[in-house]
C-alpha cells in the first residue's frame, strides 16, 4: 500500500482537486484507493457527495476507539472509497498531541488497511502543524501544488 499526501502550507492552491483527481484516476486504472479527507472544510467529502461526519469525531479515530475501517464510505466510483472529513478535525493537532508518538500515529492507524488498498491519498489542510509533520512521515510521496508568481501552477514532488 502506497500513501500519497496532497499538502501545501497555503490554502486555495488546489490540494483537494489534486487529491480527488489522483484518487479517481488511480481507481479508474484498477487500483483500490482510499481517499482520507483530513481537512475540516470537507471539500473532498462534498465533491464525492459523502456527508462530512465521523461517528465519535476525529478523537475516536486518532485514539483508536473507533476503527478506521468502520468509518470508510464507498463512493459512486468503483474501487474508490472515502474516509470523510469531520468538523472536529479542526482539533486534530490537539488530539494528536495527546497521543504517544504523535508523528507516527497516522501511519499506525493506516497499517491494518494495507491488504485492502493499493493506494491511500491524504487530502491535508493547509498550515504547518503536528498533523502536517505526521503526514510528512506517513506518506511515501508528497504531491504539493505550489502557487507561482505568474499565477500558473506547477507541481513539486518530494520523496
Amino acid at each position: 500500500m502506497k500513501i500519497l499526501a496532497s499538502y501545501n502550507i497555503k490554502g486555495g492552491v488546489g490540494k483537494t482537486a489534486t487529491a480527488v483527481n489522483i484518487a479517481h484516476l488511480a481507481a479508474r486504472d484498477g487500483r483500490r484507493v482510499l481517499l482520507w479527507d483530513l481537512d475540516p472544510q470537507a471539500a473532498a467529502s462534498f465533491l464525492l457527495r459523502v456527508r462530512p461526519r465521523v461517528k465519535g469525531g476525529g478523537a475516536a479515530l486518532i485514539k483508536g476507539s473507533r476503527d478506521l475501517d468502520a468509518a470508510i464510505k464507498g463512493t459512486d466510483f468503483e474501487r474508490l472509497d472515502l474516509l470523510p472529513a469531520d468538523f472536529t478535525y479542526r482539533n486534530l493537532d490537539l488530539i494528536l498531541d495527546a497521543t504517544k508518538k504523535p508523528t507516527q500515529r497516522l501511519a499506525r492507524l493506516l497499517r491494518p488497511l494495507a491488504a485492502e488498498y493499493d493506494l491511500v491519498v491524504l487530502d491535508c489542510p493547509p498550515g504547518i502543524s503536528l498533523l502536517s509533520e505526521s503526514v510528512r512521515l506517513t506518506s511515501c510521496r508528497n504531491s504539493s501544488p505550489a502557487s507561482m508568481g505568474t499565477g500558473r501552477r506547477c507541481w513539486r514532488s518530494a520523496p
Partner: protein, 510 residues
C-alpha cells in the same frame, strides 16, 4: 437476490417501493449477456460452493469465479474451447484458484442462459449512491424452457449497510418482491431438467434393512450401471482421465457385487455376467496404467537428482504414443456391439429381478457379507510378516477392496459415525497396500518400456539412465510402503475397530 412474485420485476415497481425516501437513477444502458456456467463432471466447483461463469456480450468475454462467501475473481479471455482444463485460461489468480478446485478434471459447460441486465443506482437526498440494483431478466434456451425470470440483486455500498437493509425490507414488504430461493445457475439447470450435483461417482442409495436382499442388490447394481454408462462418452472423447477412472471403479464394484452378493439375484445371473465384466475391466487397464504414469510424470521428473527433466523427455513421448495406441483399442471396445449388447442385456436382466417370496432381508445379507469380508482381511493380514511374499499383500489388497465396496453398498444401513470411522481405518490400510502394489506394477512396466525403447535408435542412452533413476524412486517408495504396513494393519485390527465391525455386522450369520 430478490425476484418478483409474478416472475417479473420492473423499474417502476422498484421505484415505487423505495419512494419517497430514496430515488433511482439508471446506470448506463441495459445490455444482453450470454452466460455459460462451467463445472467439472463431478461438480467439484459446486461442492466447494464456487461457480464459474463465462459472460459474453459485445466487447466482453469475462470469466467470473465466485464463492459462497463473496470472494470474486475475474479474468478476460477469448477463444477458449470447452471442455478443457483450467490451464486453458490466462495465467493469474483465477486460473490458480480454479486449478486447485478442478484438480485434474476438465471444465465443461453445465448450463446456458441469456440475460438482459440493467443497473440502477439508489440515491439519497444528497444524490449519493448508497446501493446498486442489478435487474437481470434471465432467459434459458431450449424447448419447454420456463418464461424469463426477473432477478434483482441488491449490492450494498460500503458504509451504507443500514440503508441497504432498509431497501431490502422496502422491496419485500412494499414492492412485493420475494427473496430468490435458488441461484441463477440453479434456475438455468432446472430449465434444462438438471440439478447441481446430479452426478457422483460414489454409491449413493437409501436402502432399508427390511427390504428384500435381491431388491437391494439390484438397486446397487443399477446405480453402478448408471455410473458406468455416464462415463462412457467422456472416456471415448478423452475429456479427462477421470472418466475412465470412474468407469473402471464402477466395473470393479459391479464385479465385486456380483461375486459377493450375486447369489441374491436370480439363478445364473452371476455366472452369465462375471466373465463379461472381467473383459470390460481388462480392456480399460492399459490406458489407466499409462494415465497413472502421466499424471505423476511431472512430480517424478522434478524428483530427479542426477538426470534432468529434458533427458527424461523421450520417456514421456513414449508413454504418450503408447497411450494413443491403447486408447484406440479401448474406444473400439466401448463402441463395439459386444459392449452395447452387454449393457443392454445387463439392464434388462436387472429390470426383471422380481423379489422372491422368501429370502434374506437386505440388513441380514449386508451383515453376513461384511462379517465374512472382514474376517478375510483380518485373518490373512495378521499372518503377514516381514518375510511374506509380495503376493500375500496383493491378495490382501483385493480383500480390502471387497470389504470397502460392501461397506459402500450398504452404507445407508449403518450408523454414520461408526461407518465413517471403520472406513477411515480401512482406507489407511488400503492406501498403504495400494502404494506398495502401484510401485511394483510401475517398476515392472518401467522395465518393459525400457526394453521397448531400447529398440528405437532415436532414443538416447541418457533417457534410459534417467528412467533408471525413476526406478530407484519407485523402489524407495515401495520399501517405505512395505515398512508402513505393520502400523496400518495394527490400526485396522485394533480392538476398537473390531468393536465397530461387530456393531456393523450385528445379527450376521457366520
Amino acid at each position: 437476490m430478490l425476484t418478483g412474485e409474478d416472475g417479473r420485476s420492473s423499474v417502476d415497481v422498484v421505484r415505487a417501493g423505495l419512494a419517497p425516501r430514496f430515488s433511482l437513477a439508471l446506470s448506463g444502458r441495459s445490455r444482453t449477456l450470454r452466460q455459460t456456467w462451467l463445472d467439472t463432471f463431478d461438480w467439484r466447483l459446486y461442492q466447494a460452493r464456487f461457480t464459474l461463469e463465462h459472460r459474453t456480450a459485445s466487447g466482453l468475454s469475462d470469466y467470473l469465479l465466485s464463492s459462497g462467501n463473496g470472494e470474486q475473481l475475474t479474468v478476460s479471455a477469448r477463444s477458449v474451447r470447452w471442455p478443457g482444463m483450467a490451464g486453458a485460461l490466462p495465467p493469474g489468480p483465477l486460473r490458480d484458484r480454479l486449478a486447485g478446485l478442478a484438480w485434474v478434471r476438465a471444465l465443461l459447460p453445465v448450463a446456458r442462459a441469456t440475460s438482459t441486465v440493467r443497473q440502477l443506482r439508489v440515491l439519497n437526498d444528497d444524490l449519493k449512491t448508497i446501493a446498486l440494483l442489478t435487474v437481470t431478466q434471465l432467459a434459458v434456451p431450449g424447448p419447454g424452457a420456463a418464461p424469463p425470470q426477473a432477478r434483482l440483486l441488491v449490492t450494498a455500498i460500503r458504509g451504507y449497510q443500514a440503508q441497504t437493509g432498509w431497501i431490502i425490507r422496502a422491496l419485500t414488504e412494499t414492492a412485493g418482491l420475494v427473496p430468490a430461493t435458488c441461484s441463477a445457475l440453479e434456475t438455468a439447470l432446472a430449465a434444462a431438467g438438471r440439478r447441481p450435483g446430479d452426478y457422483t461417482g460414489k454409491v449413493d442409495l437409501q436402502l432399508t434393512a427390511a427390504m428384500p436382499a435381491r431388491r437391494a442388490v439390484t438397486e446397487v447394481l443399477l446405480q453402478l450401471a448408471d455410473t458406468l454408462q455416464a462415463n462412457v462418452p467422456g472416456t471415448i472423447r478423452d475429456t479427462d482421465t477421470e472418466f475412465l477412472h470412474d468407469l473402471r471403479v464402477a466395473v470393479r464394484r459391479t464385479r465385486s457385487a456380483l461375486k459377493l452378493c450375486g447369489d441374491a439375484l436370480t439363478a445364473g445371473t452371476q455366472q452369465r455376467y462375471a466373465g463379461e465384466f472381467k473383459w470390460l475391466g481388462d480392456i480399460t487397464t492399459p490406458v489407466r496404467d499409462l494415465d497413472v504414469y502421466l499424471l505423476g510424470y511431472d512430480q517424478s521428473a522434478d524428483g530427479l537428482l542426477a538426470a534432468t527433466a529434458a533427458e527424461l523427455a523421450p520417456f514421456h513421448a513414449h508413454l504418450c504414443r503408447q497411450r494413443e495406441t491403447e486408447r484406440a483399442a479401448l474406444v473400439r471396445a466401448l463402441r463395439s456391439r459386444r459392449f452395447a449388447g452387454l449393457m443392454a442385456a445387463w439392464r434388462r436382466d436387472l429390470g426383471s429381478q422380481a423379489a422372491p417370496r422368501r429370502g434374506p432381508a437386505a440388513g441380514q445379507l449386508a451383515a453376513g457379507r461384511i462379517h465374512r469380508a472382514y474376517r478375510r482381511v483380518l485373518g490373512p493380514g495378521s499372518r503377514i510378516g516381514p518375510g511374506s511374499p509380495p503376493e500375500s499383500l496383493h491378495d490382501l489388497r483385493k480383500r480390502c477392496k471387497e470389504l470397502r465396496y460392501l461397506l459402500e453398498f450398504f452404507a445407508s444401513l449403518h450408523d454414520p459415525a461408526i461407518h465413517r470411522q471403520a472406513v477411515r481405518d480401512l482406507k489407511g490400510l488400503q492406501d498403504c497396500l495400494g502404494e506398495y502394489q502401484d510401485c511394483q506394477v510401475q517398476l515392472h512396466e518401467l522395465r518393459m518400456f525400457a526394453r521397448q525403447m531400447r529398440t528405437d535408435r532415436r532414443v538416447p542412452a541418457t533417457a534410459l539412465l534417467a528412467m533408471g533413476e525413476l526406478a530407484g524412486q519407485l523402489g524407495q517408495r515401495e520399501t517405505e510402503a512395505r515398512s508402513e504396513f505393520a502400523g496400518r494393519f495394527a490400526d485396522f485390527a485394533s480392538a476398537a475397530n473390531q468393536q465397530r465391525f461387530q456393531a456393523l455386522t450385528a445379527g450376521a450369520r457366520a
